[in-house]
């Protein structure tokens, strides 16, 4: 082979198989072949830049720019780099929740990517609906729980608070260190009214007592703790004014006995105990005291009962 042709051939071979060693100085080439040598060097350098860019892209490095201006050999690779950079941005937007992103002009890849974004959006919408449905169910359940809780604290016959509510409130107030009074009330004669007149009459008698007791204080809790037994829990009251208030209410009830249509004696007995803010006595003791005072009251007023024909 001609020595010049051999030199150019070797350079090209090195450029392909041993690129690090490939070297050619066009100035050493005779003038007739110098432009060919320059073109060859330019082409080899252009390809080398393309290879470097391809390696960078393969490593995921999308922001490098190893190209000389005007390297037309690299234009396809540069378009690929631009597409990947754009896809990176689009994927970041999708990751942030923008499911309106669409890829275009990238053939099958566009279709696959757009399908994926649509599926992600669909799944997100389904999950949103599921979460919303879950919230609604949860709210409905919570409403049911609230309703049941409310029911569990009420006496079904009168609608006022029941024993459970009364005892829990008492313990809660004690835990909070609050001062209040406990008033036990026993409705006199209820058994007699039930037996002699009817349970409907007995219920009316209870309803009348409830109306009366609720007038104790609008902030007090009136609880039915047994068939003919009630308890009032009231903050901001002391024993003496509470006794006076109960005496007033009892007198109101006794006044019913003066009405001509009244067929049985209306009366109630009560016992009050005041609970201090840091009262050392256990609740059971306080309840016993209130109960005892109520029975003392009942015994003391037994003789007052009016007898009806």
């Amino acid at each position: 082979m001609d020595p010049i042709a051999q030199k150019l051939f070797d350079y090209l071979k090195d450029a392909i198989y041993r690129p690090a060693k490939a070297a050619l100085d066009p100035e050493e080439i005779p003038e007739d072949f110098r432009d060919l040598a320059r073109g060859l060097v330019y082409y080899v350098e252009s390809v080398r830049e393309v290879t470097t860019l391809a390696d960078d892209i393969a490593r995921g490095e999308l922001n490098t720019s190893p190209l000389s201006p005007g390297n037309e050999v690299a234009s396809g690779m540069k378009s690929l780099q631009a597409s990947l950079r754009h896809l990176t941005w689009q994927t970041q937007q999708v990751a942030k929740g923008d499911y309106q992103q669409r890829v275009s002009f990238m053939g099958d890849f566009s279709e696959a990517m757009n399908d994926m974004i649509e599926q992600l959006d669909k799944r997100r919408q389904e999950m949103t609906h599921e979460i919303e449905a879950g919230h609604e169910k949860n709210e409905a359940l919570m409403a049911d729980v609230d309703k049941l809780t409310a029911i569990s604290y009420r006496d079904p016959a009168t609608g006022i608070y029941n024993r459970r509510f009364g005892m829990e409130t008492l313990e809660k107030w004690r835990d909070e260190g609050q001062g209040f009074i406990i008033c036990f009330i026993d409705l006199d004669n209820l058994k007699y009214v039930n037996d002699e007149f009817s349970h409907a009459q007995g219920d009316a008698y209870i309803a009348l007592a409830v109306d009366l007791l609720q007038g104790f204080d609008s902030n007090a809790y009136v609880c039915r703790i047994g068939g003919d037994e009630f308890m009032i829990l009231a903050r901001g009251w002391d024993e003496e004014p509470a006794n006076e208030r109960m005496a007033t209410l009892r007198n109101e009830m006794l006044s019913i006995n003066e009405r001509p249509e009244t067929r049985y004696h209306h009366s109630m007995s009560y016992g009050i105990v005041a609970v201090g803010q840091s009262d050392p006595r256990p609740s059971s003791e306080l309840l016993t005291i209130a109960d005892e005072r109520m029975y003392q009251f009942k015994r003391a007023h037994k003789a007052e009962r009016k007898v009806y024909a």
Binding site: P69, G70, S75, K78, A82, H86, W89, D98, Q101
Partner: protein
């Protein structure tokens, strides 16, 4: 003879409405024309401007014209009250529909407002013979005008890669200028 019905404005001062009713005016030929005609006008105009003012000034004038076009285009055809992603999506669609180019966002810095985007198959330069120079000065202004209309910030947009210097995609860097 004075025509009292003629519009008082001159066509030498741009106004969006002076673009006229193209659909009606070109009932048979339609609203589209070959890119060749667009480039014929643009590059002959560049030639004459360069001859008169030098290439740097000619490029500046092209950039300024592009800016005016971008601002008016954004104000008259785009919804400027949506979030960035929706705005970019709308812009992409508008540029595709009008066959201006394929816009692709590569990076956006939410803090500074700086961005990098590419325009593929660009109306101005795709397929131009290689000259080792960036030629999309009109595009630079056009993009800056759009960005300014949307963000209210002053942008300097420069083409960092151009088809005419061997890249198949034109890449633009937009930098917010501090007032």
């Amino acid at each position: 003879m004075e025509n009292v019905f003629a519009a008082p404005k001159s066509h030498n001062t741009f106004a969006w409405e002076n673009l006229g009713n193209i659909k009606e005016g070109r009932g048979d030929l339609g609203e589209e024309m070959p890119v060749l005609v667009y480039r014929l006008m643009q590059f002959t105009m560049l030639d004459i401007l360069t001859e008169s003012y030098g290439s740097e000034k000619a490029n500046d004038l092209f950039r300024d014209a592009g800016f005016l076009a971008g601002t008016e285009f954004a104000k008259n055809t785009l919804d400027l009250n949506v979030d960035l992603n929706a705005f970019v999506a709308n812009l992409q669609k508008a540029l595709e529909d009008l066959k201006i180019g394929i816009l692709r966002m590569e990076a956006f810095d939410a803090e500074t407002g700086n961005l990098m985007l590419t325009v593929g198959q660009d109306l101005d330069c795709s397929g131009l013979p290689l000259t080792n120079e960036t030629v999309c000065n009109y595009d630079e202004g056009f993009i800056a005008g759009i960005l300014e209309a949307y963000t209210g910030k002053h942008y300097e947009v420069r083409e960092v890669d151009c088809w005419a210097n061997g890249d198949r995609t034109c890449r633009f860097r937009g930098t917010v200028l501090q007032d």
